[in-house]
């Protein structure tokens, strides 16, 4: 690989190699201030030319690494940041064995963590990033890592991936923290937001989960809260986990402990102010 970037995100160390300078330069700028891994990296992501000659003619990035999906679609070079993000997701989803991996956003206050999970488009990523700008410590918008022994949530504060309309909610952040506007991605317009300095400085600090939220966004929804029983929470979290089955009984035990000890609520909201108010009131009661 001609260009290499090493990146520590929470407890996971990545080595991202690219045949082009562009994606690595964009990663260096987006992740300015992140610690460099001090040891052997957990995962390698490789951004390679789909065919050798395509490095020069209409370059197209194929995502490779320790774990490969044979039919992963190549992306145009301009979307190198997205390719790197997808590569990191893929390595985590297929290779992570130390933690139960939940497709969830998480934030922390007073040493206690709020976990938010839901289908794509439910708003967990936006909510996580938003709360991270409003007095909470941002722990991650994509993956929450549940410690299999102690039941603590570990941060995975990669750059938050802001999409489409949600970009307008972050107009006041320092522009230095924002990546380039990426159009034509599989999820529409995407712009990355580097977590604030506190989130980066404290990426090694886990927190005890005390509340699980299943947010649901809809323009016509009335704000509402519904209690989610432990069995339903268990089922929904197995669906939100990429490695539950691979972890076997250790995954079963840790998830059963989580839902048995942490209350869960489903919330409906039509705008972020409602969601923030609901999260705040439920947090105070938890």
């Amino acid at each position: 690989m001609n260009h290499v970037f090493r990146l520590q995100v929470g407890p996971v160390a990545f080595r991202i190699g690219s045949e082009w300078r562009g994606p690595v330069a964009a990663l260096r700028r987006l992740y300015a201030g992140y610690p460099e891994p001090g040891r052997v990296c957990d995962f390698t992501v490789r951004l390679e030319a789909q065919r050798p000659w395509r490095r020069w003619l209409r370059p197209s990035v194929a995502i490779r690494g320790d774990y490969v999906l044979p039919d992963a679609a190549p992306l145009p070079l301009a979307l190198g940041l997205i390719a790197a993000e997808m590569g990191m997701n893929l390595q985590m989803a297929l290779g992570q064995k130390r933690f139960l991996l939940l497709h969830a956003a998480s934030v922390e206050r007073d040493g206690r963590a709020l976990l938010m999970t839901g289908h794509s488009g439910a708003g967990k990523s936006t909510l996580g990033a938003l709360l991270g700008e409003r007095g909470w410590r941002f722990m991650g918008d994509e993956f929450a890592l549940l410690d299999l022994e102690r039941g603590l949530l570990h941060p995975f504060p990669r750059a938050a991936s802001l999409k489409n309309e949600s970009l307008g909610l972050f107009g006041k952040v320092d522009p230095e923290r924002l990546g380039p506007i990426l159009e034509g991605t599989p999820k529409g317009i995407v712009r990355h937001l580097r977590p604030n300095a506190e989130a980066v400085a404290r990426m090694g600090e886990p927190a005890r989960p005390v509340l699980i939220l299943f947010p649901r966004f809809g323009r016509d929804l009335e704000p509402a809260v519904r209690e989610v029983g432990a069995a339903e929470a268990f089922m929904r979290l197995t669906q939100a986990s990429t490695n539950y089955v691979a972890l076997g009984e250790r995954g079963f035990d840790s998830l059963a402990r989580l839902v048995g000890s942490v209350p869960a609520r489903a919330i409906d909201y039509a705008d972020c102010a409602q969601a923030e108010a609901l999260a705040d009131s439920l947090w105070r009661a938890a």
Partner: protein
């Protein structure tokens, strides 16, 4: 025709967790997680004493629980068929 005898895995190869009146079961042999409602967990517990047919299971469960059904053996036989489809019991 003699009633079918059913067997289940030994209790030490199953892990049970109670949540909200449901029982979560981790089945070590398959690595699968199951959500069970009564009387399925009670049937598996009854089979820990050895293979049995539906009528014998009714007797074993009846020692500890009241079974609310007009024909308890038929009700248990229906649950046994479901457990068999899930791979948690089999006919001997």
């Amino acid at each position: 025709m003699a009633a079918s005898l059913y067997a289940a895995d030994r209790p030490d190869s199953l892990s049970f967790v109670e949540l909200d009146g449901l029982t979560l079961l981790y089945h070590r042999r398959s690595g699968l997680t199951h959500f069970l409602a009564p009387p399925a967990p009670q049937i598996l517990a009854a089979l820990a004493a050895g293979p049995a047919d539906a009528a014998a299971i009714v007797e074993r469960i009846g020692a500890d629980f009241e079974i609310e059904a007009e024909d308890p053996a038929a009700a248990i036989a229906a649950r046994l068929a479901e457990l068999e489809a899930a791979g948690l019991v089999w006919r001997t």
